[in-house]
């Protein structure tokens, strides 16, 4: 079994430790040897997305130094994974070892499906789940087919969830519209961001979601913030939490 | 003045030495329909047109005679031989503005395209091309064996080496500029019927 360096995004480390633990549980139950290098902090995405690439660069280099020797790097966030795989190139123009490295960095679901070749996980989760397809996972990492594109349908997160006993899906009217988090966008463009989020929540309510899940906790942090303020009877769970719960006897 | 602007623009472009590129081959397989006539009919109907299969020009006339828009039209122009009641001779008009009072026109088209419901028309032997746009209602006659599947096939047929006008026309004019609400009949013809002849 492969040895995996666990990449836990900073906001999960600080605010959602249970998501990190669930990720460890899922990987270990599948026999993966997991190591969490504690020198890690943040991939630098907030700075890069604000345009402050000179502030992001040292973080990118730290990241590479911390993780470069692992066979694989796995992260419970499509967005942070994509930061490394699709947006780090500029910082490593003179570092040939980066190119092969970045292809060893995986989002959790894609690691399970593409590397571990898992078809069905087993376990049960008897709830009606609404899957939020987080944008960077969908349109940068291509974890699923986006509604914009033409071609055969696939969706790695949904495929893993669909294998759980008792689960049912709430079918949304807009299957992959952005939730409006968008990093600093959430505060820069607060009005639009919140309207986008409330529209997503309403779609889930209409579709009968009991739990909103996603492969990115940042989207869920935003949606949960709105849900809690409005005291709506909806829960959010990261997909790792659902998989870990289902796999735990 | 304008020639120096041209030189400046071209020089500005050429200052940036971009590596030359190859044109992509158009080598993908475009959709080809088993039954282009059926697909053409469905497509044109979907965009507000009407399709009638006619074995002869008499069939066309019989269908026209059943429709009020034709029967009640006072000024009718036809560039298709054999249409009764055509009473405006386009060639006799000196000025295209005079075509404004034409209520109904019957015009030939070269071929049809199934994927989008379009017909190809030109100003060849059409003294005032405005006739395609200015009449209130329009009927086209196109040979039934001239229905292509897609636009790639269409352009294989076309050449543009001499001055002239040509257009793909797909159904009646329309607008959705008020609240995305579809209104058939914007500035051009308010209705279009296509006779597939032969």
């Amino acid at each position: 079994m492969p040895r995996v360096g666990l990449f836990i995004p900073c906001y999960i480390d600080q605010f959602y430790p249970q998501v990190g633990l669930a990720t460890v549980t899922v990987l270990e139950r599948l026999g993966v040897e997991v190591d969490y290098p504690t020198a890690q902090t943040c991939c630098g995405q907030p700075m890069a997305n604000t345009g402050c690439t000179d502030q992001a660069a040292p973080l990118a280099h730290r990241f590479f130094e911390i993780f470069r020797d692992y066979e694989y790097v796995v992260c419970p966030s499509g967005s942070c994974t994509s930061m490394v795989r699709t947006h780090y190139d500029d910082y490593f123009q003179s570092e040939p070892a980066f190119e092969p490295f970045k292809h060893r960095v995986f989002e959790l679901c894609e690691f399970l499906v593409d590397v571990l070749k898992i078809d069905q996980l087993g376990g049960k989760f008897p709830h009606k789940v609404g899957l939020h397809n987080s944008c960077h996972g969908l349109r940068e990492l291509r974890l699923g087919k986006g509604s914009e594109t033409v071609g055969p349908a696939y969706n790695k997160s949904r495929q893993l969830l669909a294998g759980l006993n008792g689960i049912s899906f709430a079918e949304l009217s807009r299957v992959d519209e952005c939730c409006g988090f968008g990093g600093t966008f959430a505060v820069n463009e607060e009005a639009v961001s919140c309207m986008m989020g409330l529209d997503r929540v309403a779609d889930h309510e209409t579709a009968g979601s009991e739990i909103i899940t996603a492969s990115d906790m940042s989207c869920l942090m935003h949606l949960e913030g709105l849900i809690r303020r409005q005291k709506k009877p909806l829960r959010v769970m990261h997909i790792a939490e659902i998989l870990a719960e289902a796999m735990t006897p | 003045m304008s020639s120096s602007s041209k030189d400046q623009i071209l020089a500005a472009i050429r200052r940036q030495q971009l590596p030359p590129r190859e044109l992509p081959p158009l080598d993908f397989a475009p959709l080809v329909y088993d039954d282009p006539q059926q697909h053409y009919t469905e497509t044109l109907t979907g965009i507000g047109g009407r399709v009638v299969v006619a074995n002869s020009i008499e069939d066309v006339q019989r269908d026209l005679d059943q429709h009020d828009l034709y029967v009640e039209a006072r000024q009718i122009c036809s560039l298709v031989p054999g249409i009764a009641r055509a009473n405006v001779d386009l060639d006799a008009l000196d000025d295209p503005h005079q075509a404004e009072t034409i209520e109904f026109a019957v015009l030939p088209a070269k071929f049809a395209v199934a994927e989008n419901g379009a017909l190809w028309v030109t100003d060849e032997n059409v003294k005032h091309r405005v006739i395609y746009f200015i009449c209130q209602h329009l009927a086209f006659v196109v040979p039934r064996d001239q229905i292509l599947s897609n636009m790639h096939q269409a352009y294989e047929r076309l050449s543009f080496d001499s001055p002239g006008f040509g257009a793909f026309i797909a159904g009646p004019s329309k607008t959705a500029d008020i609240e995305q609400s579809l209104v058939i009949g914007a500035h051009g013809p308010k209705s279009t019927v296509v006779y597939l002849l032969g």
């Binding site: 600080q14 959602y16 990190g20 633990l21 460890v24 969490y36 890690q40 630098g44 997305n49 604000t50 345009g51 402050c52 040292p58 349109r139 986006g146 033409v150 519209e177 952005c178 409006g180 968008g182 607060e190 009005a191 639009v192 919140c194 309207m195 986008m196 942090m221 913030g225 809690r228 | 003045m1 623009i9 071209l10 971009l18 590596p19 590129r21 158009l26 993908f28 965009i47 503005h97 404004e100 989008n116 419901g117 405005v130 790639h152 352009y155 050449s159 543009f160 001499s162 002239g164 006008f165 040509g166 607008t175 500029d177 609240e179 995305q180 209104v183 009949g185 914007a186 500035h187 051009g188």
Partner: protein, 465 residues
């Protein structure tokens, strides 16, 4: 158009638009409806993605060979009997058009939709010189009557409700008071604009595609206004940006298959008119305009934005555009592609547009010519920071954040202090005017311990170090 001194920030205009929630919702749904039509049309062609790829390559070829293609186009068009003009900028474009109109003694011109003439502000310029220009596309006419710019490049009046059109028409052209039926209103406009078409002494159009090989060009409309406008008077002036060229006529197949499907979800526009030379007895002028395009062409990062064929699909899919309205961008071309083009013109004034984006990437995937829009917006953010247009507060906070994140001990400390503060501060300390997050949202419930602390305990329990 704003200037740098007015401190235009997209978020302010967006906030104002969202404040009318019912209207923002209506706007969002109207455009989402168009996006859905686009999806159905795209899916009707199995070769859709190959078409997009091909279109993108053709456009890349065009940009790489633009100088030769422009020369070829000029040669061919001239051979067909057209007059070809080149204009460096908007002012020269407007002077050329005015000169042609004055030479022909034109007092009234019928114009069909052209984003280029919007970009050059041709209408007010001609008006100042005593020439009446009527926008004949229904949506354009509506916004012209309201004396405001279009809010969308394909659906200029998408922000206006039918009742408002009814009121406007009642006031301007005497339709019945209170009448708001779209067919009734469109018919009234048809009658009124027929008078314009009959009176106009010149037709002005934009151009969708100009073919270097043949010297001809194609204009696409649904209403038939471009064709009526240029088939009645003897004079036709066609205005286009230099990036509108395509190499060969057969490439029109690729672009005409993509354009209307992407733009409005139609299989093709009602009219796709191919003009090769003037009509017998008529005169055709073609004005090729740079107006900043060669500057974009020289930028490795933003050159691909010149691929744009102005279909508006990126606007229809953009979750921000749909909820903030086209006018919130305060630029001729709004939405995602406009947020690349506007800062190319004036980065200081339009610094906020690249940030009016959640980076969802949907625009990239609907773009028929595969412009990597959201990546270019990210690149613009970097440019804006480098050029010093980012507000100091943002620059400072990012610098502080980076300083902390480079030092694990400081990060751990800041994290636990932050969580502690979140857990124990009274609500008013956290939820106040300074906290944009907390205006409509709760902050996450701060856990006592971070993941790293819990992980260490777990490893210790399992006997690992």
């Amino acid at each position: 158009m704003p200037t740098a001194t007015e401190k235009f920030n997209h978020a302010d205009d967006a906030t104002a638009f969202v404040a009318n929630h019912a209207r923002a919702k209506w706007h969002d749904q109207a455009l989402w409806f168009v996006r859905q039509k686009r999806d159905r049309m795209a899916n009707s062609l199995p070769e859709w993605e190959a078409l997009r790829e091909t279109a993108s390559s053709i456009k890349a070829y065009t940009i790489a060979h633009l100088a030769e293609l422009l020369e070829q186009f000029e040669r061919q068009a001239t051979k067909l009997g057209a007059h070809v003009h080149f204009a460096k900028d908007a002012a020269e474009h407007n002077e050329i058009v005015l000169g042609i109109l004055q030479q022909h003694g034109v007092k009234k011109a019928a114009k069909s939709k052209s984003m280029l003439t919007e970009e050059c502000h041709l209408n007010p310029f001609l008006n100042r010189h005593g020439i009446d220009v009527v926008d004949t596309d229904l949506g354009e006419w509506i916004v012209q009557l309201r004396n405001e710019p279009p809010s969308h490049i394909v659906l200029p009046a998408i922000h206006i409700k039918r009742e408002e059109v009814g009121e406007l028409f009642h006031e301007k052209i005497g339709t019945e008071k209170g009448a708001s039926d779209p067919t009734y209103l469109a018919r009234a406009a048809r009658r009124k604009l027929r008078e314009t078409f009959m009176e106009a002494e010149a037709g002005i159009t934009g151009v969708n595609f100009a073919v270097a090989e043949t010297g001809g060009f194609v204009v696409c409309t649904n209403e038939g206004n471009a064709d009526l406008g240029v088939s009645l008077p003897k004079l036709h002036i066609a205005c286009l940006g230099i990036e509108k060229l395509i190499p060969q006529a057969k490439h029109l197949a690729v672009f005409l298959r993509l354009l209307a499907r992407s733009a409005t979800g139609q299989p093709i526009t009602t009219y796709s008119s191919h003009f090769h030379g003037p009509r017998p007895g008529g005169e055709l002028h073609i004005v090729l305009v740079d107006n900043g395009r060669t500057d974009i062409l020289r930028s490795d990062e933003f050159r691909r934005s010149l691929n744009c064929i102005r279909c508006g699909a990126c606007m229809n899919t953009c979750p921000v555009y749909r909820r903030s309205g086209g006018h919130s961008y305060q630029s001729t071309i709004p939405g995602p592609i406009g947020s690349i083009l506007a800062p190319s013109r004036d980065a200081e004034t339009y610094y906020s547009l690249p940030y009016a984006c959640s980076l969802c990437g949907s625009c990239d995937d609907v773009c028929p010519v595969k412009i990597d829009i959201h990546h270019q917006l990210l690149t613009w953010r970097r440019e804006i920071a480098v050029r010093g247009y980012l507000p100091w507060s943002k620059r400072l906070s990012m610098r502080m954040m980076s300083l902390v994140l480079r030092r694990p001990w400081l990060y751990r400390l800041a994290g636990s202090l932050g969580r502690f503060a979140l857990r124990w501060s009274p609500r008013f300390m956290i939820y106040n005017g300074l906290n944009a997050w907390g205006k409509q949202r709760e902050l996450p419930l701060a856990p006592k311990q971070s993941f790293r602390a819990l992980y260490r305990q777990r490893q210790a329990k399992n006997g690992k170090s």
